[in-house]
């Protein structure tokens, strides 16, 4: 069974390009957005874009329900979407890795407490925890990052725990322990470099999950508060008017699909490159 053209290299480069493009859009938003994304014009609300005969001439992708320029909102929306996706991933990776390393190094009761806690949380749909917490805390970028991070830490904890346990027996870690290296020293010097490749793959794919999770919270009215633009809340807001102004939800949805697709492509490519036999998730 011969291998074709769409292998890991292809996936990494295509996925990487998409992700890079999204990041560039986010960084350069003030330069490329044609309008102020928050400027309302109620007289020009829900106007379609260039494809329509009733298009508002200055708005290429039309306007939303406050008459704000949709293109500008999508461009600015990439900022918060990526920020929330990446930061919450980093936050959960941080909690998860530290918990996983500590459980793996200490073993015994510490391991039992941490890993059983992780197991318990696995039996609890993450979106539920996120709903409970955002309902309580209210939606702000920081709260969302914390909530999404807390709801997914155990995925990293499990991966890092497994790797740490197998590394603990290795001579260089044992030696470091003997010479009195603290947990964090050992983690930083010896464990982290070893688990980094696997973590990178898991983390990449998790960014996509976080972005989708933020979208789901927006639908339930628990996402970023207005007037902030994220792809999630543009989609959720547009969805209520899907039958009347389909372009809002569809364009925001398209943006999410492309980015998530790019991230997945990158992540899966990295995984295949790094270890073609890993059955991950």
């Amino acid at each position: 069974m011969r291998r074709g053209r769409f292998g890991p290299t292809f996936k990494i480069s295509l996925g990487g390009c998409i992700v890079l493009l999204a990041v560039l859009t986010a960084v350069l938003a003030p330069l490329i957005a044609p309008w102020d994304p928050y400027q309302q014009d109620l007289m020009a609300r829900l106007k379609p874009g260039f494809w329509s005969a009733h298009a508002a001439p200055d708005h290429i992708l039309g306007t939303d329900n406050y008459g704000r320029d949709l293109l500008s909102r999508l461009i600015y929306g990439s900022r918060l979407s990526i920020l929330v996706g990446v930061s919450s991933m980093l936050f959960s990776a941080l909690i998860g890795s530290v918990a996983g390393v500590i459980a793996g190094l200490r073993g015994g009761a510490t391991e039992q407490v941490i890993m059983r806690f992780a197991d318990a949380q696995m039996a609890f749909p993450d979106i539920l925890l996120a709903i409970l917490l955002t309902a309580a805390l209210g939606g702000s970028a920081l709260n969302l990052i914390i909530v999404l991070g807390v709801s997914r830490w155990m995925i990293y904890a499990r991966v890092v725990f497994g790797l740490t346990r197998s590394l603990r027996q290795r001579p260089f870690v044992e030696a470091a322990t003997l010479y009195g290296g603290g947990d964090f020293y050992i983690m930083w010097q010896h464990i982290l470099p070893q688990v980094m490749p696997v973590l990178t793959v898991v983390a990449t794919l998790q960014v996509a999950q976080m972005i989708l999770q933020e979208t789901a919270l927006s639908f339930l009215g628990l996402g970023m508060p207005p007037p902030a633009a994220t792809w999630g809340n543009i989609l959720a807001e547009g969805n209520t008017r899907l039958f009347a102004a389909p372009w809002i939800a569809n364009l925001a949805g398209l943006a999410i699909i492309v980015l998530v697709w790019g991230i997945n492509m990158l992540g899966n490519g990295l995984r295949e490159q790094y270890d073609p036999n890993t059955v991950g998730r």
Partner: protein, 305 residues
């Protein structure tokens, strides 16, 4: 094996306790059910009576202990918004959720495994790229949006299916498809990876060299062995399925536990939230256990720690 199952079951109460505690504390701290339940015109006597009935005059730890005490008798408490006990309220909704989740899961497994086989056989070729792409596109479509698009196309334009609601077999098609879309891509990926992994194994290579056809090697050697990773993945996905049902049920007006749960959270109907959360946690645990047992039956080599 029996020892393993017993250990797993013993662990369940711990999970439930933890889940119950977090839910209870968050809900109690962020909203007073008395405020939500009684009219804004309520009288002080009514507030006092209801506060006492719900033990809200007690400190929070005491409230939780009272809740636990009743729980040991199988009593989650009376639902505030509904008439009747929380258990009876939730059990009325379980059937609808199981039906939806079952149909969605079946659809995802069947299509996912088929897609995975195609992807593996034509690895890194056009078919693989197209199917993998479609799968990821499906997965990255937020289900509230996908749901409305499906309603618009299949119900409003083609008139093939009803828009929403619970009823005959036709009603389950769109919600199940929406739910399946969340899981399907992972099944494609897992099946693909599992098959590819096996293709390098000695017994497969031997089979091919003995002159067996590709199709025959696939059905006799590879697929039975690929079942295991797919199964273990299925266990993990039960949680995702439950989470997905929350939004799917809202869009399609499906009378299941997911929508009940969201509503009860917003109403701070703690007994119903707790009972629903227990149902979900137990469903996830039982599904995982079933998957494990099934795996051990299929492949006795697997040992559990």
């Amino acid at each position: 094996m029996a020892g393993y199952i017993i250990r797993r079951l013993l662990f369940l109460p711990l999970t439930l306790l933890l889940v119950a505690f977090v839910t209870f504390v968050v809900l109690r701290l962020t909203g007073n059910p008395v405020d939500i339940f009684l009219d804004i015109n309520r009288t002080p006597e009514q507030v006092a009576a209801l506060t006492q009935r719900l033990h809200l005059d007690q400190p929070l730890p005491v409230q939780f202990l009272i809740f636990l005490r009743d729980l040991l008798h199988g009593d989650f408490g009376e639902s505030l918004q509904f008439s009747g006990s929380a258990v009876s309220v939730v059990s009325q909704r379980v059937g609808a959720t199981l039906q939806l989740a079952g149909a969605g899961l079946a659809l995802a497994v069947v299509l996912g495994v088929l897609g995975g086989i195609v992807c593996a056989v034509w690895r890194d070729r056009l078919a693989d790229a197209v199917i993998s792409t479609l799968a990821v596109v499906g997965q990255s479509m937020p289900s509230f949006w996908l749901g409305l698009l499906l309603i618009q196309f299949f119900a409003l334009q083609l008139h093939w299916l009803p828009t929403s609601g619970y009823g005959d077999a036709r009603h389950v098609v769109l919600p199940a498809a929406t739910l399946a879309t969340i899981l399907l891509p992972n099944f494609v990926l897992i099946t693909r990876t599992a098959i590819l992994e096996l293709m390098g194994e000695q017994f497969v290579v031997t089979g091919r060299s003995k002159g067996l056809s590709r199709a025959r090697v696939l059905t006799t050697h590879i697929l039975p062995n690929a079942a295991n990773p797919v199964l273990s993945f299925l266990g993990i996905q039960i949680g995702t399925l439950m989470a997905g049902s929350i939004i799917t049920e809202t869009i399609y007006a499906w009378p299941g536990v997911g929508r009940l749960l969201i509503n009860s959270i917003f109403h701070r109907d703690v007994p119903v939230v707790e009972a629903s959360v227990f149902f979900i946690a137990i469903a996830i645990a039982v599904a995982n256990l079933m998957v494990d047992v099934l795996q051990m039956l299929i492949d006795p080599r697997i040992r559990r720690p």
